[in-house]
């Protein structure tokens, strides 16, 4: 898990070669409460770092998940369309949201320890 990095906006990403897998942190899902719906991007869509990629509807509020770096979507987790609660149950595993090809590398995310300090 040591390769997972976190953003101040509570996404996590795992970079392997030139592809990232992205989701939201355990802290974020806990703050949002029960997630009932997600609007996923389409494969091939391009996003700049900081652009809203996924809209997350929870019973408490709605929030966006942002692109950690410039990227092009290569896969989305379609399981979330029918079982959005997977994000609550396993945010950093089965609850991943999308994979994307990195267009501009920006590996400036926080380590787990840094993120834990950030949210505490």
């Amino acid at each position: 898990m040591s390769d997972i990095k976190y953003l101040e906006t509570h996404e996590w990403y795992l970079m392997k070669d030139d592809e990232i897998t992205v989701g939201i942190s355990d802290f974020a899902q806990n703050e949002l409460g029960d997630i009932v719906y997600v609007t996923l991007p389409e494969v091939g869509q391009e996003f700049e770092k900081g652009a809203a990629v996924v809209e997350v509807e929870a019973t408490k509020t709605v929030a966006d998940a942002y692109a950690p770096m410039d990227c092009t979507i290569t896969a989305v987790n379609s399981q979330l369309e029918t079982e959005p609660e997977t994000i609550n149950n396993d945010p950093c595993g089965d609850g991943w949201m999308f994979k994307a090809k990195v267009n501009t590398v920006d590996d400036s995310g926080m380590s787990y320890q840094e993120y834990e300090t950030f949210v505490s």
Binding site: G33, D34, Y37, T39, E57, T59, K60, V62
Partner: protein, 339 residues
């Protein structure tokens, strides 16, 4: 300023509740999750600490004075009844929606937490005497289809919307979830034994998160959202509460609206999606514009539901919502969300 907590705060902490600020109060939002608690109340039994709400004890002799301040008949209903009603101002607008518990010798008035001080001032201004029991008591709502069976060995169960009492408790078969159940008022010193009784019976703690999804699914308004000082009971589609045939504060305007004067109108809606039209989302039905007052996901219907306030009676049942820049269609529903 530190938020107020209820007498049961230590218990909530021990259950690792998540808290939410609600007016001046820090209250449990959830324990095991909003959807799980929603399901508990729809299928078995859950309890809510609603001690943030007010509890005013009023001598029965004050009842004629109260009758001049609310839109419902209170004098002639039997003395063991509970009554949902609305305090109106001179313009007929809602000061608060409240529950009255009638007993032989007294009335317990339960205002919303955010309106307690306002209602107390209102009563003082109209010479209604009361004792504020809120600081010395707790209020627990026990709700769900298994509730009556679980608690009947300790509580003699009254008819629906009726009151009863034991040596230590005042209670009524009322609630805010659409399920059967009771709401129980206890002195602070009796709160812990009540809590122990409920938890030993397997009744699960539930927070304000599920209380909100449950009340919305049960088509019940929430003060501050559906009801404000800018809406009458007629506009809020609460005509069924208007049973006071005598003159009361604001009754002229309410009667004018009942006689056909045009007015804004609160409607319920569903969206065939889980995308939520939240508070202040704009919705257009035909030519008529509306603003969502509350919207959330309905676990039972598995779709998005809510209330919307239109400028006047819409001529179409189809609503086009602008949800964060996306146009989403919904429908006005005229019956209750749950049958």
């Amino acid at each position: 300023m530190d938020k107020k907590t209820t007498q049961l705060h230590k218990y909530h902490l021990s259950q690792e509740a998540k808290f939410i600020d609600f007016g001046d109060w820090s209250m449990p939002f959830s324990y095991e999750g909003t959807l799980k608690e929603h399901d508990i109340v729809r299928t078995s039994s859950g309890f809510f600490d609603v001690s943030h709400m007010g509890r005013l004890e009023i001598q029965y002799t004050e009842i004629e004075k109260i009758s001049k301040l609310i839109c419902s008949e209170i004098v002639d209903i039997p003395s063991n009844k509970a009554l949902y009603s609305i305090f109106t101002n001179a313009d007929g607008n809602a000061l608060d929606d409240v529950i009255f518990w009638k007993f032989n010798d007294k009335i317990i008035l339960i205002p919303n937490a955010s309106n307690l001080e306002k209602i107390k001032s209102h009563l003082v201004a109209h010479n209604v005497e009361f004792i504020d029991k809120s600081p010395d008591t707790v209020l627990i709502a026990v709700q769900g289809p298994d509730t009556i069976e679980l608690i009947q060995d300790r509580f003699e169960i009254p008819d629906k919307f009726s009151t009863n009492y034991t040596e230590n408790f005042l209670y009524a078969r009322t609630g805010y979830t659409g399920e059967d159940g009771v709401e129980i008022m206890a002195n602070n010193e009796d709160a812990e034994s009540l809590l122990t009784f409920l938890t030993e019976k397997g009744v699960k703690p539930c927070g304000l998160g599920s209380r909100d999804t449950l009340r919305l699914e049960a088509s019940l308004p929430l003060y501050g959202f559906e009801l404000t000082e800018d809406i009458t009971p007629v506009e809020a589609s609460l005509n069924w509460t208007i049973t006071n045939e005598n003159e009361y504060l604001g009754s002229n305007r309410i009667n004018d609206q009942l006689s056909g004067e045009s007015h804004k109108v609160l409607k319920k809606f569903t969206i065939n999606s889980r995308k939520i039209a939240r508070t202040e989302t704009v919705g257009i039905a035909g030519e008529t514009k509306g603003l969502v007052t509350s919207g959330n996901f309905s676990p039972v219907l598995n779709k998005s539901i809510g209330f919307i306030l239109f400028e006047n009676m819409p001529s179409h049942d189809l609503i086009e919502f602008d949800i964060r820049g996306n146009l989403i269609e919904g429908n006005i529903v005229n019956k209750r969300f749950l049958s």
